[in-house]
Amino acid sequence: MKRTLRAWTGVATMLCIAVTMGTAQQRTYTMKTIGNHADEVLNVFVNDANTMVATCSLDETIKLWSLPDGKELRTLKGHTAQVNSVSFSNDDKTLASGSNDRTVRTWNVETGAQIGINRGHTAEVIGVYFNPADEKGELLASTSFDKTVKLWDTKLGIELKTLRGHTMQTNAVAYSYDGRFLASCSDDRSIQVWSTDLAKKEPLMTLLGHNSPVLSVLYSFDSKYLASADQDGVIKIWAMPAGELVRTINAHTDLVQDVSWAEDNKTLVSASLDKTVKMWDATTGQNLLNFPVNTEVWSLDLTSNASTIIIGCADGSVRMLTEKGNEAGRTNQKGK
């Protein structure tokens, strides 16, 4: 009897574990390669309408691909060094890029023509980000290894403001979706939050908590959360605008270069050099997906409902992860 009871207890325990695992691994994706750059793909950005994705590479080019079919549309050439970052404007008509050639360039998405070259940074430009709240699609932030964040009017081609506060190289910059704030992260292990009010030059707050260089920052669509990721593979979720640390996720075993939110403001995906793509419920820290890729993943972005994830890989491939049941490709609103 005692032995039978123990056996039933064991079965019950196994069932509990199985149910827990089933809950944790809620989403299933299939992967296909949609094309290649000649060298490592460093950044991926899906446009607001979910109809196009831009990728940039160590091969000094930018490529545009259609969604959901993943067809290569055109290659943008002009930078004279590796292109580190790309961003679509709010109206999806303009693309910005930042490069090791120290320039920020803007491109006409429709024609692929280069619109402007913005010079001002004194070191490699590592991040660019259009203001999602700017309906004209003209206001852009960029950040560089020169430790500054610069705000540009891309239509006039002028530098509006330079933000100085980080003590070491900065790695990424992101606007809040309401356009009121800007976050930047740095090798100095801090995140600085800035007002987009041109009269203010000091950071509104400095978020501390990471124990290694912070490589990525991104606001959720409702601007209530900020996700940050670091060189140790740790992701932190901050409640904004208060700047309170909500959650720490020991997400990856190698550095996390990019994160992206889904439109539900709780689903977060992360790309790492540990050769995995992971998905998280940011409200609970629960792991929703652990997708192995056979190469390092530098960057990713997703459609708003997270049914499609585009990843940029160290082997030069651009790959599409499609959720099972969504193979036809749903289009919906998004932004990065």
């Binding site: 004279t80 060094a81 090791n100 120290r102 190289q169 790695n171 550095l255 160290a314």
Partner: protein, 241 residues
């Protein structure tokens, strides 16, 4: 009696005038000098060295004797005049001849300024690293923004006409020997072309290709973050002094 009083007044006036003139000249002599402190550092080790140097004014006239840098207290020279330009020339056979320009700020008070100078050891068979590395990851064209750095290297070679160098550019990652040699040669040729364009005679610079990563400064086991990856170092290997 009246004459005697006048002479007394005249002597007093002379004494006061003399004192004032002496005071003013003393003030100008000791009140407006600038002292320069700092170290002369070995480019390879970045440690202070006791290199010999001389100071020249804007007209190219040598100011006094040659000096020897004090590697312990970092004192270099005093008596510099505000608003003037000077040149410090390293004149030590153990190091490349190098020049450093000094712009002294225009001040009315005694001032101390601090500046370190990096010198490159000169010994056949030894190498000097070109820093920062003038190439981007996996690239064979010179990195944007390295013009000044290349100009400095070219100037160094022009100032030391008896010195011949071999350029050695290491690849960024382990891979095939052919790919490594190809990258190494292309980088070396790009750097040599830039140096020749800047005035260094072609025959003084050769390129040596390597087939693997730098054994003394190998790539790290883990990749760095975007934009911070290891790039193979570039060296000037001194073949003739």
């Amino acid at each position: 009696m009246k004459t005697q009083r006048m002479m007394k007044h005249a002597l007093l006036l002379l004494a006061v005038t003399t004192f004032a003139v002496v005071s003013m000249s003393a003030q100008s002599a000791i009140g407006t000098v600038v002292t320069l402190s700092g170290y002369i550092l070995n480019a390879n080790s970045l440690t202070p060295v006791d290199a010999t140097y001389a100071l020249y004014d804007a007209a190219g006239k040598k100011m006094g004797q040659s000096f020897r840098a004090n590697a312990k207290d970092g004192y270099l020279v005093t008596g510099l005049q505000p608003g003037m330009k000077y040149t410090i020339k390293v004149e030590d056979p153990r190091f490349f001849k190098q020049e450093f320009t000094l712009d002294i700020p225009n001040t009315k008070k005694y001032a101390e300024i601090s500046k370190d100078f990096v010198v490159r050891p000169l010994e056949a068979g030894k190498s000097v690293a070109v820093t920062p590395t003038p190439f981007d990851l996996k690239k064979t064209t010179l990195k944007v923004g390295t013009d000044d750095e290349i100009a400095d290297v070219a100037h160094l070679l022009v100032m030391n006409p008896g010195v011949n160098v071999e350029l050695v550019c290491y690849p960024d990652e382990d891979g095939s020997a052919e790919a490594a040699a190809s990258l190494s040669m292309a980088r070396g040729n790009a750097l040599k072309a830039a140096l020749v364009k800047a005035g260094v005679p072609d025959g003084r610079v050769t390129v040596r290709t390597v087939k693997g990563t730098d054994p003394l400064n190998p790539p790290p086991l883990r990749k760095g973050a975007k934009g911070k990856r290891y790039v193979g170092p570039t060296y000037l290997f001194i073949t003739k002094v």
